[in-house]
Amino acid sequence: MNKNQKRKANPKTLKRVGKMLFEFYPVLLPVTLVCILIASAAALIPDIFIKNVIEVISKWSDTSNWNEASKTIIPMMILLASIYAVSLIATIVHTQLTAIITQGALAKFRNKMFSGMQNLPIKYFDTHKHGDIMSHYTNDIDTLRQLISQAIPSVLRAGTIVICVFCYMLYLSIWMTLILTLGVVAMIFVSKKLGGGSSKFFIRQQKSLGVTEGYIQEMMNGQKVVKVFCREEESKKDFDKLNNALFNDSFKAHAYANALGPIIMNIGNVLYVIMAVAGGVFYLLNIRNVGLSMDPVFSIATAVTFLNMTRQFTGNVNQCTQQINSIVMAMAGAERLFELMDEIPEEDDGYVTLVNAKLGSDGNIVETKEHTGMWAWKHPHSDGSITYTQLKGDVRMVDVDFGYKENKKVLHNVTLYAEPGQKVAFVGATGAGKTTITNLINRFYDISDGKIRYDGININKIKKSDLRSSLGIVLQETNLFTGTVLDNIRYGRLDATDEECFEAAKFAGADDFITRLPDGYDTQLNNNGSNLSQGQRQLIAIARAAVADPPVMILDEATSSIDTRTEAIVQKGMDKLMEGRTVFVIAHRLSTVKNSDVIMVLEKGSIIERGTHQMLIDEKGMYYQLYTGAFELE
């Protein structure tokens, strides 16, 4: 059961799902629907035939003349069999097509969601819990599957049957129909009441399941602490309390839900008796029948047919009410899916692109197809001319203001220059704005005020994908992807040859441990490389950045979760990687930033100190205090 099931279903959502399905399957979908209608209408056939057969039986029963009777009955049966055949074919077609459409449509929905998600701004991922995003792909897609494969076909089928049966019943006898309808209304009422009770307890069950799960999670994570403190008995006691509460809610929820079946069925049975008695009364007392058939005689055949239809009718009305519930639930899921799909994608109106370049004969920069190692910004101007600027890695920020929320600035008047090849370090407490600055350089976020120039070009004019390709990033939290080590390194540049990847790994100092892995570069990494140590993962991330060979690097706390001994090894890789590039470094450990060209000390979004290590030490300010260990960075 979904958390947000309380949300009212929006009819527009259903329409939109329908429209999308129709777009995906403009031919198959109508065929399926028609087949469902045919198959459901055919469900009524036996009742009509039973009536006719009974009439024949009644007619010939006294004389026991099978020969005469068979003349009507056998053709009737052949007709019945052929109608069955048609209905069977329709059923095969619609069930097979439903399977195809359901899975196909789900795949298309998934692809649409995923593709759309790739183009969303980082902000979306920063402001939504990953678990919530994931639940779109699991829970919400699942409700959609229920909707397409079960709820809609069932409602369609049951609805058609109910309407057909109802019409036929009216045709037979209005009085009897009236009695049955009253009974069915009462039945729906009871099932609604019970269903309401059961869903109340299901919500409670869900809640206590959540609480218990939370407790289990906490205890499982802290199991070692529990052992160290010998708290086993206490945790058992706490657990028992929650577990018993869960048992109670679960018991009640299921008891209600399970009772619904027998209750509905036996109301059906009682209705059946009522109909039988009513039929008997009508027949025996020879009450004048009123029906659309205009047959004034209430025959035994009519009575028996009515009895058979009683079950059809009640069963399908129930089917309808139940499935409508699941449609409502599915709508809530679909709505959440559309929320993800309707997120506004990251805008990219940059027109300055990154191209391979070489120096022409006259010393000018010319564009070229092959990879030369030299890059240039291709800048088309409004007058149709194109200029090329060599990519150097010169980054300047002037008076930059920024806030993640409009009314809350986190950066104030940040001005900095990073010349090609310089190493710029940011130091400061968590929340001082270090990472924010790097988020602005690669345009994960856009500045509110001020300007950022990259090789003299306003970064807003640069195509985002090209801007980011020119910036390498290594983050504290290394994210590796499922695949081989080689695949992960190649992620930096997809067209890199195996040799180039090996080179990059050697360069980063990762080759040594990779070759010692069981399958070397072909070792499969799963679950974010959980089979590697933190340091090893970081080395792969560095190799990945190295293979991309960008002129500008951003190293955000790249070594802070590694112990000092391992860091020494990683640091060598990093130092090599930084050579000849513009580098922005964020680090907690001051040892890693000591040799920077400029160190910026940030506090609450402003640069409060800047200079080289020596200058800042002499200044005896914040940096000095941090360096001597008088302050704790948190």
Binding site: S61, T91, I122, H254, Y283
Partner: protein
């Protein structure tokens, strides 16, 4: 496996048996109903008096009520039995896990244990409910219906002889073909979802390298592959419906045709009522078969969950408790006599090799070494979190295996590297160390751990709520609280496993100074990254690749140990590492 799991039913056996009884009752009544209805129909047809109709109608209503009672009661008892079964499974697992040793815990990831205790248990609960409700009911309905059909219809019932085997065979074929296909595709589907999670988590990397298009392609390929396999599996299952329909259709044509002939010729007492009842029995028989195949599928699906639950229940705690355990620890001396240790018996390499180490009570011992040098493994042997592979570890001169576990661990307080606070107030968390600690004692411990200063700045002081996982205090504050919690045990041995890494050097020094003056009797073992945290210890142990590479004081090691010198130089030249 089934036996072990069935053991969890325990006090809900009565409910389970009652359910079965009620279900039998319901099944009997339900199969009788069409029988009586046939009478009713016939009596209407033959024009008997209204009294007769009311009488039969009355019987029918009574039967409906009876069936309702049985059904309703069964609903209650089966829900109780299933929920109780689930409760006991969770309880048994949780209790079993409380008995786990570190070795057992290492074998299961915590998230997998959570899944086992929630999703898997729910799956089994549902399967169990379905099992006790339908497993008996369906075969019974099947048998009763066939019997009744023969009693009533005689030759007419032979329709079922043809249809039932066809349907059984068909359903079996479908489930046998579809089940493995589904299991395969579900696994793939899980992997697809994992890859989405990976993508979401690594979005900064994806965007940083502008790999959006690449990711889309990769995803689409995996997604359409799954779509194809899913479609194939679902199309097999989709055959169930037409198969069922075919059987029902055959049934009704057969019964109508033969039935009408028999009725007209007055054979076997067949009348309109019997024909109509036979049609109902046909539906009941086929539905029961359909339900049985669903039960089969459900149980197959839950088999995987059952296996995973069983794994936890069958896991044997690996520590053996001594027969006559020693319950008091004399002092804080520690001896490692020729200890070898590996985490897994099959592992080739020892995590600790040839450890021979003697620590006198009251000493301060520093341990330093790179990641993977087995510093933590070494100290975890002291409170017997793991057992040695060879050799003995003695505390207070007695083998740790001879102690009562609780007494040993009360005397040896350990602050783990991956430490945790639990949801509750600060005071609640601290009292883990000593349940009966007075407020004064809490404050005292916090003063020693330098935690009092920040606790006092919180508006609720010691009653400040700690959120799950301790997310609302900083890393350094968390570490200090964990130290205070351990101090409250008033231990004979205190082990800090890299527990001050997020505390600044000044505070770190203050904590150590406090130890020296307030708990001089306690043996203190400090694992650290920072040389400054260990340099004034009585004894510093350098660990390298699972072996003790050097032991000595700061001055001695600067002379003799290359590793120590290397770390020292790196840290002094690079300034203090400040995390």
């Amino acid at each position: 496996m089934i036996k072990k799991l069935a053991g969890c039913i325990k006090e809900y056996k009565t409910a389970t048996i009652l359910t079965l009884l009620f279900i039998v009752g319901e099944a009997i009544v339900e199969t009788l109903i069409p029988f009586i209805t046939a009478d009713l129909v016939n009596s209407i047809q033959s024009g008997i008096e209204m009294n007769e109709i009311f009488k039969t109608g009355g019987i029918l209503v009574v039967m409906a009520l009876l069936s309702l009672a049985c059904g309703g009661l069964a609903a209650a008892t089966c829900s109780k039995a299933a929920a109780g079964f689930a409760k006991n499974m969770r309880k048994d697992m949780f209790y079993r896990i409380q008995k786990f040793t570190f070795e057992n815990i290492d074998r299961f990831s915590s998230s997998s244990l959570v899944t086992r205790m929630t999703t898997d248990v729910t799956n089994v609960q549902m399967a169990f409910m379905m099992l006790i409700r339908t497993a008996l009911r369906c075969p019974l309905m099947l048998i009763f219906s066939i019997i009744m059909a023969y009693i009533m219809g005689g030759a007419l019932a032979s329709a079922f002889v043809i249809v039932v085997p066809v349907l059984v065979f068909g359903l079996l074929m479908v489930s046998r073909k579809a089940m493995p296909a589904f299991q395969r595709v579900f696994k793939k589907y899980d992997r697809l979802n994992e890859s989405i999670e990976e993508n979401v988590r690594g979005m900064r990397v994806v965007k940083g390298f502008s790999r959006e298009e690449y990711e889309k392609e990769k995803f689409q390929k995996a997604s359409s592959e799954i779509c194809n396999e899913f479609t194939r599996a679902e199309r097999i299952v989709a055959l169930n419906n037409p198969l069922m329909q075919l059987c029902m259709n055959f049934n009704s044509v057969f019964i109508l045709l033969i039935g009408s002939k028999m009725a007209i010729l007055h054979l076997n007492n067949i009348g309109v009522g019997q024909i109509s009842a036979m049609l109902t029995y046909g539906v009941q028989i086929l539905m029961s078969l359909m339900m049985l195949s669903m039960v089969y599928v459900m149980i197959t699906i839950s088999a995987e969950s059952m296996k995973r639950i069983y794994e936890v229940l069958a896991e044997e705690p690996s520590l053996k408790i001594a027969d006559k355990p020693v319950t008091s620890v004399k002092d804080g001396s520690i001896d490692f006599d020729n200890v070898n240790f590996k985490y897994n018996k099959k592992a080739k390499r020892y995590a600790l090799a040839d450890i021979d180490l003697h620590i006198k009570s009251g000493m301060t011992v520093g341990i330093i070494g790179g990641t993977g040098s087995s510093k933590s493994s070494l100290v975890q042997l002291i409170p017997r979190l793991y057992d040695t592979t060879d050799g003995t570890v003695k505390v207070g001169g007695i083998d740790v295996k001879d102690y009562d576990i609780k007494s040993l661990r009360d005397a040896v307080a350990m602050v783990l590297q991956k430490n945790l606070l639990f949801s509750g107030t600060i005071a609640d968390n601290l009292r883990w160390g000593n349940e009966n600690a007075t407020d004064e004692e809490l404050k005292e411990a916090c003063r020693l751990a330098c935690a009092d200063e920040f606790i006092e700045t919180f508006p609720d002081k010691y009653d400040t709520k700690i959120e799950q996982g301790g997310t609302n205090v900083s890393g350094g504050q968390k570490q200090r609280l964990c130290i205070a919690r351990a101090l409250l045990k008033k231990p004979k041995i205190l082990i800090l496993d890299d527990s001050t890494s997020a505390v600044d050097t000044k505070t770190d020094a203050m904590i150590r100074a406090g130890f020296k003056s307030y708990i001089p009797e306690t043996t203190k073992i400090i694992i650290a990254q920072r040389i400054s945290s260990v340099q004034d210890a009585d004894m510093i142990i350098i660990m390298n690749n699972g072996e003790i590479s050097d032991i000595g004081t700061h001055a001695e090691l600067l002379e003799s140990s290359e590793i120590y010198r290397e770390i020292y130089e790196q840290q002094t030249n690079g300034g203090d590492d400040n995390e």
